[in-house]
Amino acid sequence: MNKVVAAHHEVDPGSPRSYTAGFVLSIVLTVAAYLIADQQRASGWTLIYIVVGLAVVQLFVQLVFFLHLGRGSRSRWNLTAAAFAAMVVLILVMGSLWIMKHLNYSHDSLSPQQLNQNIVKDEGIKPSNY
């Protein structure tokens, strides 16, 4: 009887096959992103979109195959927490970049070096500090 009870209540444990599939897919995605960046198959924003896109795909692969998100009876609240976290993460990252790219200093789309110089000059940072 105990065995039956245990088997009945066991949360979805995944299977070796699901872990192996997740593992192989993750390796393929990692190596693909690596090759594209290392051999300069793309550059600038195209490259950033491609490798970040591959990372997001891998995020979902691991969430499903390793963390079994979305399966089992208690998964609804896990999904809710994850969706809320994703929202906060996006607002935090996108918001920070958006604000920082639109500061006064950046208005003339300066190079990072020129930007540094302007900030050093405007904020009165003494050369001895660097």
């Binding site: 593992f23 390796i27 690596y34 660097y130």
Partner: protein
Amino acid sequence: MSQAATITRANERQEAESKTLFGFWVYLMTDCVLFASLFATFAVLRGNTFGGPTGDQLFSLPFVLIETLVLLTSSYTAGLGLLAARRRAKTQVLVFFGLTMLLGIFFLTMELTEFHKLYVEGDSWRRSGFLSAFFTLVGTHGLHITSGLIWMAVMLYKVAKGGLNHVNVKRLTMLSMFWHFLDIIWIFIFTIVYLVGVAG
């Protein structure tokens, strides 16, 4: 004890266990927010090298690829270890989590080697905003890995000594969730810090 009482007790235990696991999941989600703020900081400060070296002058992609694959493999072995724990296969649990721990130590050693090299060559966190953000982001991940490794050592001891009782299986479940989570964070460090850093 009657059958009904056994079932009720099993249900209660199951209920408590799933609450614990959900609580741990919520912790992981808040940890996500911590890392998001560090990622945002890094993304903002990425170009602020203050005349110092940029990412593509500092990082070696093949080195980081190996680091990534090592951590990914450890995430896989942690998953297999958890399956073994559910089957109550003690030896396999010890082997898989032992393997996970070795791979984790190897990963951490590689990370510290990189940190040491940067520090010795004068490219520490004091060099530029970019490097401060780099060390904070990657170092925070490294600290998480370190605490995961300590947790794993404790669990290996507990399983070896106390066997696979319900409490230990529950803890192993949380430990492998934590480890998978750290692997996911690392994918984004690998992508945003290293891949984009070298080519962007």
